[in-house]
Symmetry: C2
Subunit: 145 residues, 2 copies
Amino acid sequence: MMATTRELFARHNLRCTAQRRALYENLAESRSHPTAEELFLTVKPSTTRLSLATVYNTLEALCKAGLARKLPTSNGSCRYDADTSEHLHVCFRESNEIQDVPSELGSKLIEHLPRSVIAEIELKLGVQVDGLNIQLLARPSPPRG
Amino acid sequence: MMATTRELFARHNLRCTAQRRALYENLAESRSHPTAEELFLTVKPSTTRLSLATVYNTLEALCKAGLARKLPTSNGSCRYDADTSEHLHVCFRESNEIQDVPSELGSKLIEHLPRSVIAEIELKLGVQVDGLNIQLLARPSPPRG
DNA sequence: GTACGTGCAAAATGTTTGCATCATT
DNA sequence: AATGATGCAAACATTTTGCACGTAC
């Protein structure tokens, strides 16, 4: 069953404001991993009051609550993803846009990662690994002749 | 045999200036994947003339030539690595610092990635994958009792 | 009613740019 | 000599902050 955004927020101790709801729902439906500004521009027209600062505040709150992930890019601005499951991303080198690798493809790769090696890394480096960020750096394929 | 920086630059059509040499050699010896500013502060004292703009210009030139990699982080600033071989990174969530996973550990993981899956992703998504960025998101281990 | 979220504007941070000068090839 | 690199300062882009007001609980 699909929970309402209100319920989802309540479960994570997030106040349900009109702005947060609009931002989260738009992010969750988006396929494009928008930047804060892109999300702002998309959501703003249909929301009574919305400022860019609120977008940043909300995205940080969502990430802290585990309802979103922040994806670093090479050009300064970060992108956001409401899908917090482990999955691969394709990053386009010129545009710094990010695309999901469909899970039926990506999971073949993720499932091959030996957990024992990660445990070994944790031990040897003295760290606790609690997330994974796998990006395939790519360019669009040239048209075929 | 180890090539001199001058020879290395010549091979990549990079002019060998005092600033570039100092920056590259410091980056290559560094273990910390410094930001542009960190590198600037490290190299500046021992270099006659050096500006932050030159650091950015040089790092971009090195990346374009394939002698360095730019590593995105979640806090806006990027970090740089003169080791362009495929290897894993550990990213610390609080500090956004980046550490190498020693290759004898990381290669166990990288070698497990099935190249056929990447080829499949390229085909299905219409992209050319020409690099990989694998980050283990981590926190320092708490001291053990 | 209280604690927290919001908008606005300003500030902080990180990176890029334009241009005159200088160094490498 | 010519091409390209440098320094400086200003511009730019992204994100964060402070504070008065507003809203959810």
